[in-house]
């Protein structure tokens, strides 16, 4: 299995990566066009919903929340993988993350931007969304700091701004490379501005390393807290199926899980679309797959903790809800979720599938389908079978408007991501160089001590 070549020239790395910024292939345009069309669908739905009212989504009493909140959690969850790869693995000095962390981080930012849209789309009076901000005003009215939804808004905002900062800071040396290698035009102006006068001096490097590390350290607790707070939206409520102590870790695990699955998907797509075979190598993929498998099992454990808590807690409302999930209106989706998110990952145990691109592509999509369903199965059944039996409602189905916006959100994410890939280097050039350099150093060291033959492989 071929890993990154250690003798690859630095100029070659620059050339390969910078090439991905230019001359889009036909496939790129096709994907971008489809993405924009999907966004168009969502915008149309939202305009309609804005004008007529949320009723067009087929919400009702008791189905107050629907796909918007479910998909919101989904996108928030998706964002965690970027932090995992770039911040956590950075601190753990896992060098295999280096060729892929950039796009994962971009994914974090863009999925947060997508999630944020759902907060807005979900509101009955989107035009008053600023009421949720603690801005100074003459009436001395504050938002309600007791509300998990407010914590949520703040956590997401902080996380988004930190993520953008982290993505940007980590990109500065690369932006300088872009600046130096790009011809004149708007791009050059952009890179010049963004590179902040990077010259690669020792002092700059030292400061850069320090800043990068600090933000990474800052980002990790933030990521954990964000999804814990999203979990609090449910855990802090009093409803059956929501009022569960294990929700925060469960949500965080779910977030890392869906994020990893999404990284696999994007890894494969990028590798193919931008011809990054040189950098996005099979051993890296294998590592992500194994990580995904581990997280999937953690998640499975936590979901069973949830079921067991509901069942053995002897709270009739929780028990009833669990039974309804397994046998009621939502049963097909609930079972599909359990299958996709707990059973399908078992396939990743097998070594030959760990590098089988078509299988991994399909599995990663199924995992994310499962994780999306999981979010929906957290939100909707509690409304369908809450406390009050008179208002139970098993017939509600989200309208095409809701589905349209959910559908469009994938287009929005793809669109942002595709545009990003053509403007910013989606593989970190300087870190790949570091990685290649360090590896070749190690190899040389091994060769020198004659231990290479004994170790039998070329990488550590």
């Amino acid at each position: 299995m071929k890993d990154i070549r250690e003798d690859i020239a630095w100029a070659q790395i620059n050339k390969d990566v910078l090439k991905s910024l230019e001359n889009p292939r036909k496939l790129y345009w096709v994907i971008l066009f489809i993405a924009i069309a999907m966004v168009g669908v969502a915008v149309g739905c939202e305009v309609y919903q804005y004008n007529v009212g949320l009723g067009v989504g087929n919400f009702d009493n008791p189905h107050m929340w629907g796909l918007y909140i479910a998909t919101f959690i989904f996108w928030i969850g998706m964002s965690h993988s970027g932090t995992l790869l770039s911040a956590i693995l950075h601190l753990m000095h896992a060098d295999w993350r280096k060729p892929i962390y950039r796009f994962a981080e971009a994914m974090t930012t863009f999925s947060l931007m997508t999630a944020g849209l759902f907060v807005a789309v979900h509101l009955g009076r989107i035009w008053q969304i600023y009421f949720a901000l603690p801005y100074p005003n003459m009436r001395q009215v504050w938002p309600n700091f007791q509300s998990p939804l407010l914590w949520d808004a703040m956590a997401i905002f902080t996380y988004l701004s930190s993520s953008i900062l982290f993505l940007y800071i980590g990109m500065i040396p690369d932006l300088a490379i872009c600046r130096d290698n790009m011809h004149s035009g708007w791009r050059r102006k952009l890179y010049t501005a963004l590179a902040l006068g990077w010259e690669g001096t020792d002092r700059q490097w030292r400061n850069f390393r320090m800043t990068y590390l600090t933000i990474a350290c800052f980002l990790i607790p933030l990521a954990v807290s964000v999804h814990s707070i999203v979990a609090s939206d449910f855990g802090m409520s009093q409803q059956p199926g929501w009022h569960i102590t294990s929700f925060p870790p469960y949500f965080v695990a779910g977030a890392l899980y869906s994020g990893c699955a999404a990284i696999i998907t994007l890894f494969i797509i990028l590798r193919y679309v931008f011809k990054f075979e040189e950098y996005m190598t099979m051993p890296i993929l294998k590592k992500i797959v194994r990580l995904t498998f581990a997280i999937s099992m953690v998640w499975t454990y936590l979901v069973w903790v949830e079921y067991a808590t509901a069942w053995f807690g002897h709270n009739p409302h929780d028990q009833h809800l669990l039974l309804e999930k397994a046998t009621g209106t939502y049963a097909p989706f609930w079972w599909m979720m359990n299958f996709c998110a707990s059973v399908v990952p078992l396939i990743l145990v097998f070594k030959r599938f760990q590098t089988n691109i078509p299988v991994l592509f399909a599995v990663s999509l199924l995992l994310n389908l499962g994780m999306w369903l999981e979010r929906w199965m957290i939100v909707a059944p509690t409304f369908a079978d809450g406390y009050y039996p008179w208002t139970w409602d098993h017939n509600q189905w989200p309208s095409l408007v809701q589905w349209g916006i959910v559908f469009g959100s994938f287009g929005w994410f793809t669109m942002l991501f595709m545009i990003f890939c053509k403007i910013f280097p989606s593989v970190s050039m300087y870190e790949v160089k570091e990685m290649v350099y360090h590896r070749s150093l190690a190899t040389k060291k091994l060769q020198a001590t004659g231990e290479l033959a004994a170790a039998g492989k070329g990488a550590h």
């Binding site: 007529v52 009212g53 949320l54 009723g55 087929n58 919400f59 009702d60 009493n61 008791p62 189905h63 107050m64 929340w65 979900h122 509101l123 009955g124 009076r125 989107i126 008053q128 969304i129 009421f131 949720a132 100074p136 005003n137 003459m138 001395q140 009215v141 504050w142 938002p143 309600n144 700091f145 007791q146 509300s147 998990p148 939804l149 407010l150 808004a153 939206d233 802090m236 409520s237 009093q238 409803q239 409304f383 809450g386 406390y387 009050y388 008179w390 208002t391 409602d393 509600q396």
Partner: protein, 285 residues
């Protein structure tokens, strides 16, 4: 805007229920509904439409579960498998329970639903941004959302019909949550009248909610729980239902109690302000 208000808001207006020697003063509005008298006739519900500018949503939206009846009459059957419901049905007028520790209040991101000093669970339409978290957290599901812009919807208030709208009550536009207010417009009117006359609101029909006023069997009583002379206060006392308990002492008596007063979902500790009196059936027939 001062930082002090940041901390004040929550301690003052979100207290669970009166603590010990600091009761609501001078008012705590509460209700008692006698289910043995209630015949399930719906008069209260229609009166509520008339008083509170509730929109008629029409068949299609009703089918989608988007009805706006603040006061809904629920009809239950005995569940013992008899061929005929020969003990009749059981009716329950369900409206906002004006909980003292309302699950809806803590979760609203913008503080649009609050507790008033006279013990009401208020809803500020102007402040509401429509996150619908309050309804999600309501165990009784008595909060109703404006899924559409009813004032501009065909046949909700067409010309002339709009002249009936009560000018004391806001006509809600799309995207805000609403619910039973205990006819707050009437409460405020009576409170202000009483204040200008230097007295408290009397318990003699000076203040009635629209549902109470219409109810042909007078099953609904409403009044000031703090006032020891009020009917509501006497009823709650006689039934040994305490506002600030989530388990009543009488329920722990061996063999149960012969008192009919109970509150729905007391065990969730929302401390509802509505006491129901159990429906009764004759044993000898």
């Amino acid at each position: 805007m001062s930082i002090s208000t940041l901390f004040e808001n929550y301690s003052e207006f979100r207290h669970r229920h009166p603590d010990g020697d600091v009761p609501h003063n001078p008012y705590k509005w509460a209700m008692a509904i006698d289910l043995d008298a209630c015949s399930g006739c719906n008069a209260c519900s229609v009166a509520c439409y008339a008083e509170n500018n509730l929109p008629v949503v029409g068949k299609e939206k009703f089918a989608h579960g988007q009805a706006m009846h603040w006061m809904r009459i629920e009809r239950y059957w005995d569940q013992d498998g008899r061929e005929f419901p020969d003990r009749g049905a059981r009716y329950l007028p369900m409206l906002c329970q004006q909980c003292e520790a309302a699950p809806c209040e803590t979760v609203c991101p913008v503080g649009a639903t609050n507790h008033t000093p006279d013990g009401l669970n208020s809803q500020i339409y102007n402040r509401c941004i429509g996150s619908r978290y309050c309804s999600s957290n309501c165990p009784y599901k008595v909060r109703y959302f404006n899924w559409y812009d009813y004032p501009t919807t065909d046949n909700v208030w067409p010309a002339e019909m709009n002249m009936q709208l009560n000018p004391d009550v806001t006509v809600r536009s799309k995207g805000v949550m609403e619910k039973c207010t205990f006819c707050i417009q009437r409460i405020r009117g009576a409170e202000i009248d009483a204040k200008t006359q230097g007295r408290l609101v009397r318990d003699d029909g000076e203040l009635q909610t629209a549902c109470q006023q219409a109810c042909p069997t007078s099953a609904i009583s409403f009044g000031n729980l703090v006032d020891p002379e009020s009917k509501v206060h006497k009823q709650w006392r006689a039934q040994q239902v305490d506002l600030d308990k989530h388990e009543q002492v009488k329920d722990e008596e061996e063999g149960g109690t012969d008192l009919r007063g109970y509150r729905i979902y007391e065990f969730l500790a929302p401390y509802p302000s509505i006491m129901y009196l159990e429906r009764v059936r004759e044993s000898e027939i």
